[in-house]
C-alpha cells in the first residue's frame, strides 16, 4: 500500500477542519433548539396572557379569569346547534381527561371549559346539561358579544353567524383547543384533527415546560 501524497493529506486535513466546524455548528443548533423545545403546539416565547373577562354559567355563577387561575384549562369554543365538530371535540376531551386521570398535574389542576359563541340560542343552564353529558366535571359558559370578546379577542378566536336553509343559522368558529396555564398564559394551541392521544401528550409536554418556565 502506498503512502498518501502530500496533496491528499492536505485535503484530508481540510475535510477534518470542515467536519469539526460543521459539528460545532450542529451542536449550537441543538443547544438553541433546547431553548424552544420541539413541542408542536407550544406557544413560546412570549405567550399571550388572558386579561379580565366575565361569562355566565348555570345557577347564576360566573366564569372569570379567577376561575382559570391556578388551573390548567383546556378551552374550546362552539355552540349546541353544532351536530358534528362540537360533540366530537367534547367526546375527545372526555377521553383526554380519562387518559390524564393519572397525571399528577391534571389531577390537581386540570379542567375543561366549553364556551358557547351562540349566546342567542345557548342559555347557561342548558349549556351545563350539554357538557355534563360528556363529563360531569366539564364547565360551560357564555355571554353577550361584548363579554365574549374579553376572552375571544386575546385568543384570536373568530366566530360568525351564517344563514342556513332548514334552520335559522349556523356559526362558523375557531376549532382549536386552547391550553391556558395557572398564570393565565396561553401556552398551547391545539389544532384539528383533535385526538385524545395527541391532546394528552401535548398536555404532559406543555404543562411540564410551563412549570419549568414560570
Amino acid at each position: 500500500m502506498q503512502t498518501p501524497s502530500p496533496r491528499l493529506q492536505a485535503n484530508a486535513g481540510i475535510a477534518l477542519i470542515a467536519f469539526v466546524a460543521l459539528s460545532a455548528g450542529a451542536l449550537f443548533a441543538v443547544l438553541r433548539e433546547q431553548q424552544r423545545p420541539a413541542i408542536p403546539a407550544l406557544i413560546w416565547p412570549n405567550p399571550p396572557t388572558l386579561g379580565a373577562f366575565s361569562l355566565s354559567m348555570a345557577g347564576g355563577k360566573m366564569l372569570t379569569q379567577d376561575s382559570l387561575k391556578g388551573h390548567w384549562t383546556f378551552l374550546f369554543f362552539g355552540f349546541t346547534h353544532c351536530p358534528d365538530v362540537c360533540p366530537n371535540t367534547l367526546a375527545v376531551l372526555k377521553q383526554t381527561a380519562l387518559r390524564l386521570s393519572e397525571d399528577p398535574t391534571y389531577r390537581a389542576q386540570g379542567q375543561v371549559v366549553f364556551v358557547s359563541v351562540d349566546p342567542a340560542r345557548d342559555q347557561p343552564a342548558a349549556l351545563a346539561q350539554y357538557v355534563q353529558y360528556f363529563d360531569p366535571n366539564f364547565l360551560a359558559a357564555t355571554g353577550p358579544e361584548t363579554a365574549l370578546a374579553g376572552l375571544t379577542a386575546p385568543l384570536g378566536v373568530i366566530h360568525a353567524r351564517v344563514p342556513m336553509t332548514g334552520e335559522d343559522y349556523s356559526v362558523d368558529h375557531t376549532a382549536a383547543i386552547f391550553l391556558i396555564d395557572p398564570k393565565l398564559r396561553l401556552l398551547g394551541v391545539l389544532s384539528l384533527p383533535h385526538e385524545a392521544a395527541k391532546l394528552s401528550t401535548a398536555f404532559r409536554d406543555i404543562s411540564a415546560f410551563g412549570t419549568q418556565n414560570p
Binding site: T80, H81, C82, P83, D84, V85, P87, N88, L90, A91, R121, A126, L127, Q129, Y130, Y133, F134, I158, V162, M164, T165, G166, E167, S170, D172, H173, T174, A175, A176, S191, L192, P193
Partner: protein, 139 residues
Amino acid sequence: MLLLAGVLPSAALACPGLEVKGAWVREPPPASPGTAAFMSLHNAGASALTITGWRSPQFGTTMLHATLSSGGQTKMRGHAQLSMAPGEGIVLAPGGLHVMLMKPTGTLHEGEPVSLELSCGPQTTSFEMPVRREAPAAP
C-alpha cells in the same frame, strides 16, 4: 325485527344499485336541538346514481351538510346532491359530510333505531340505523 346499520331490505322501487353500510346516528346530548347521521354509500349498479333527497319521519328537517375546516376555522354548509358513478362510493363521517337531523319529534337514546329514506329521483331506499353514543371504531 329491526334491521340495524346494515344491509338494506331489497324493495322493488329502491334506488338501483345503492348500498348503505355502517349507518349510525350520534346520540344527541341533552339540550342539543338535533344531531347527525353518518354512513358509507356505494353505487353497485351499472349506471350513475344521484341521491336527491333525505327524509326521516323522526325529524322535522333532514338535509345533507358538509363540515369544512380550513385555517383553524370550522364551518358547516349545505351540500348539494350526491352523485356516484358505477362502482363509486362516498363516505359520510365525522368532520366531513353528514346528514343533519334537526327538530326531533321525540327523544333519542343509544341503541334506538332511526329510519332514514334516501331518494334518487322517483325511487327511494329506506333503512334503519342505530343511535350510538360514540363513533364506531374504524373498520
